[in-house]
Every structure is written in C-alpha cells, then in structure tokens.
Amino acid sequence: MNETEARSTNRRSLLSGPYLVWIIGFTVLPLIVIFRFALSDGAGHATLSNITAIFSPIHRKAMWFSLKIAIGCTVFCILLSYPMVMAMKHLGLSKKGFSLFIIILPMWMNFILRILALQMILSNNGILNLFLTKLGFEPLRIANTETAVMIGAVYDYLPYMMLPIYTAIMEINEDVIEAAKDLGAGSFTVFRKIILPLSLPGLLSGTVMVFVPSMTSFVISNLLGGGKLQLIGNVIEQEFMTGNRYVGSGLSVALMIFVLISMAFTMRHNTEGKESVVW
C-alpha cells in the first residue's frame, strides 16, 4: 500500500466515526450499566448472586422451557422453510417476486394482533376445533399448552427463517445445480450435496433471527400459554415490573452470556463475510 492510498483509506475510515460514537453511546455503555446492576446487590456491594440466580429451580425451569421452545421452534422453522423455498423454486415463483411477497407480508402485520388471532384459532372452542368437530374429529385441547406456545413461536418466526434461506438458495448459480445433475445426482442428492451446504449462511442467519427471539419472547407465552408457562423472558419482565432490577439485570446478563456462547458455537463454521446474508 503506497502512501496516498494509505491516507485515502484512513480518510475513508473516518466515515465510521459517527457510528462508532453511536455504538459506544448506545451499545457499549448500556451493556456496562446492565453489568453494573447485575453485579450489585442494591446496597453497594458486589455480588454474583443475581447472575447465578439463573440456576435457582424456578428459573431453571423457565430456562429449560425456553430452550425447548427455542430449539423446537428453530428446528421446525428450518424443516418447514426448506421444502417451502424448494417448492417455490420448483414452480418458478421466485422469478415473479410473488414468493418474497407472501413471505414478507405477514411481517408487516402487528404480531401481537396476529398472535391474538392465533389464540382464537387454537382455543378450545376456537375455529380449528370448530372445523375438526364439523369434520367428525375429536376436538384438540392445545390451548394454554406448550404445544400452543410452540405453534405460536413457529408461526411468528417462520418468515424470519424462510427469508434468509430463500435469499441464499436463490443466489445459488443454476449452472452449479445443472453440473451436479449432469454428473449423475438426482434431486435429493442435488439438495443434500449442493443446495443445503451452499445455503448454510442463510440457514445460520435464520437461526440467529429465530433462536434468540423465540427463547425470550414473553408475549407469545403470555397469550398462548395462559400465563402459567413461563419463558425466561417472562421471568425477567416480571422481575422488572415488580421493581427488582438487580435480579432482572443479573438474569439478563446470564441470558446474554448463554446466547453469545451458543451463537459462537453455531457460528464456528461460518466463514468470514458470509454472515451478512440477512435480507
């Protein structure tokens, strides 16, 4: 790198100045504050008990349920998204922009209202059971169960999984797929050996966008779990609403550490520069 070039890159990097200020002001400092609360007992003494509170039986139960919902929701979203995107690709809908449209549209409707509507569908004398009894089936009792919370989470976060997978798969060069077929790969092999590995960055983005929110969303569990089923998000919210910001912060920090560790684990294979496949 010669001197002028170095100077011009340096000058260009100054453009990130305002953003750096913003990061420090609204990302780094708030995190320091929440750590301070988390490590304080409220009387000015340092303590780890707020953070280790995550291991208390009642919190452990919430954490366990959160994990179950998050993992289940992520897995179901992946399992539902791939056939969806492949079906769209197969029918050539991708070229018409129509497929993006049907994925994005629900994201623009208020999610609380949508969850409420889902509650009406799933409730014991709701629309789903109305249909089932009309067709001569036994009505399902899924209102206020873990199943309902799971359905709600999958319903709400499915577009966030489909979108990055869609983007990643549509970016795969058609020539590469044809080359695989040419070398003797049937549809399933093409998917397993070509499409799946090449869409991994999208899958990872989708996982980031689904796993964490589904673990912590307290609205879905409030509305579909009947208030009895608590995610870690519900617990933290209640700590704050009852004025206990120290334990609330401690649990938040514990959650954050957990999320960062599990994400680091997931991202291990993700190579540089690919993390940006979001939209």
């Binding site: 020539d175 080359a179 695989a180 077929k181 003797g184």
Partner: protein
C-alpha cells in the same frame, strides 16, 4: 460414418414463441470431434442442453446408441457436460469436485483417488487436489471442470463454449490441450463455439449453424475452401462477398468485368453471390488485372498486410505480403480456381443441401 453414437431426429424447440430449432437432424459418430459453430442465438447451445437433458425438445427424439433418451433426466444419461462458466461446486475442494460423480456411482475410494490423480495429471493440475475452486484462475477452473467430467468416462463429452471466458493466449493453449485430452481418452466430443478459428483448428467435422438451421457441415478444409452460401463464407474467415451475374458456365461477370471461373450449373445470366478470400486476390500494376482500383487503407497485421482497394463502390479486402501505398491505383487479379460462386438465398434462413 458407420458407427453412430448419438442421433438427433427432427428436433424442434421454441422458447417464448420464438423458434430456436426447426426440425433439426444430426448424427454424431463414435470418437468424432464435432463442433457446432454459429453466432450467439443460433441454437447451438440449445442442442447441447437437449442432449444433456436440461431442455426437453417440443418435438423430435434423441437417440443414444440407438436408444431413445429424449425423456431421460440428465443424471441418468451417459454424457457429461463442461459448462461455459466452469460451474464448479464452490464449497468443495478440487478433489471433491472431481470425485462428485464417482462417489455417486459408489466407486471404491482407491479407484476414486487413482482417477483424481490421473485426471489432474491429464489437465496439468497435479498437486491441486486440496485447493478451493474460487482460488483458481479461470483457466485452472475450466481444467478442473474438464477433469470432473472426464473421470466419469462418459461416452460423449459435451463442451459448451468451454474456453469462452478465457483470454486469447490461454485459449490457444487450452485448444491444444483439449485435442491432446481427446486423443488420450478417446471419446466423442461435441463442442459448441462461436469462434471459427477454434472450430477450424480442433474439429473433425464442423456444423455451421444459423437461426436453428444447419448451413453447412463438413471438415475444416471444405468449410473454409468451399463455403456453400454467403453466411458460411462470411462467418468462416474473412471474405469478399459481392453480387455477380453468371454469364454462362465458367464465366462470371463481377463489377462489369467477365472473370473466368470453374463453376458450372448456375444457368445463364443468373444473379449469384461471388466469394473471394482476401488471400486469393493478387495486387498487380494498374491496368494489368481484371479490375483496377485505388488503395484506400493498409494495416500491418504481423504476417501480412491487410489492404483495402476501392473499385467503383465496392471495397475489396486483400491480404498480401507486399505493401501498397495509399492512394495508388492498382490492378487486382485472381486464379479461376479461387472464385466461389453461390446461389443467392431465396429466404434469409434457407437451408442448404448438406454435405453428408
């Protein structure tokens, strides 16, 4: 050609209502190097894609060793393709790319390893097993693509403008290597290109196409020396193509001057196309040749000069080893053997009698 391996019978295909191939017929012999040559959009790649199984013809059949494979999906066909844009699998190493087809055929790992070694040597890339495709140059990627196709021992290798993305020097090098590879593996090559020089250099047989129709088929020499219509003459090498009147057998009138030629059977006083290769014209002193004109440009091309001489309103192109000064009046002369007479096409896309 006694041993025909691949036959296309009455293939018709249109895209979006536009006819790409119209009742196309072609036989390809075992171990032949056949090149489909034509401008882009002439339907040559579509033929390859139909044989590869990526496009289904609207009408007609594809026969492979006499068996109808028209409806067979690509993965079930014993042909392999080298694609124009390499199409290597970006997430696999060079070795894994090459092993792809063999693993699907459940070959033993020792067999696969030997094949990879052999194929990489064949394309001059030994030692590249563990490289990522995207870290290779265009030429290297295309070599891997060739290796990846060849290890499957296809009966026919389809090459879709495989050198189109390479620069000139590399292209020449790869052309020689392809011929070498062809000799070594001894399988049928069906090659698609729009580069006439490439076609002339490599092929046993060239099929010149335009607008989905075969214009002429034959070996390099016959295509170059005896183009059967103006399209072929124009597309293959550089030519002077000019209107003439066939006065009678062996006499053609060009620009008001009668030339002796060797062609017969064009009737009397019929309009024809006359094709004369630039290297066949000779510059002589003004008044001594058939025609007299003025030199309007001269470009040194390395091995020869390209000289343009204007006679009336036609600019003759001449390739000559001797220069001629601009502005000078010169005469042009030609051997009767080197004058090619062709019928005027009735329609733009008229099919010409085939050379089979």
């Amino acid at each position: 050609m006694s041993d025909v391996i691949l036959q296309l019978k009455n293939i018709t295909k249109s895209f979006d209502g536009k006819m790409i191939l119209n009742d196309f017929n072609l036989d390809i012999g075992r171990n032949e190097f056949v090149t489909l040559l034509g401008p882009s959009g002439c339907g040559k790649s579509t033929i390859l894609r139909i044989i590869g199984g990526f496009v289904r013809p609207d009408k007609g059949r594809v026969l492979f060793e006499g068996e109808d494979i028209t409806m067979l999906p690509p993965e079930k066909r014993n042909v392999n393709t080298v694609f124009q844009k390499y199409s290597l699998f970006p997430h696999m190493s060079v070795a894994d790319n090459i092993a792809f087809g063999l693993k699907l055929k459940k070959k033993s790992s020792q067999y696969i390893k030997d094949k990879i070694d052999y194929a990489l040597k064949l394309v001059n890339l030994d030692g590249y097993e563990d490289r990522e495709p995207l870290s290779l140059s265009g030429g290297q990627q295309q070599r891997v693509a060739i290796a990846r196709a060849i290890v499957n021992e296809p009966e026919v290798l389809l090459l879709d403008e495989p050198l189109g993305a390479l620069d000139l020097k590399l292209r020449h090098e790869m052309q020689r290597e392809l011929i070498k590879i062809k000799k070594e593996v001894g399988i049928t090559f069906l090659y698609v290109t729009h580069d006439q020089e490439e076609a002339l250099m490599m092929s046993d047989r060239i099929i010149v196409m335009n607008k989905g129709i075969i214009q002429q088929a034959g070996d390099s020499k016959s295509i170059y020396d005896e183009p059967q219509n103006a399209f072929v003459a124009d597309f293959i090498g550089e030519s002077n193509i000019i209107d003439g009147i066939m006065v009678r057998d062996c006499l053609v009138n060009i620009q008001g001057v009668d030339f002796t030629c060797v062609d017969t059977g064009f009737g009397e006083n019929n309009p024809v196309d006359v094709v004369i290769r630039p290297e066949d014209l000779e510059i002589v002193k003004a008044g001594e040749g058939y025609l007299t004109g003025q030199v309007i440009s001269i470009i040194f091309k390395g091995a020869y000069y390209e000289i343009k001489v204007k006679v009336d309103d036609y600019e003759w192109m001449i390739q000559s080893v001797d220069p001629a000064p601009i502005g000078e009046f010169v005469g042009l002369t030609i051997d009767p053997d080197n004058i090619q007479i062709m019928h005027k096409p009735v329609r733009d896309d008229e099919e010409v009698a085939r050379d089979e």
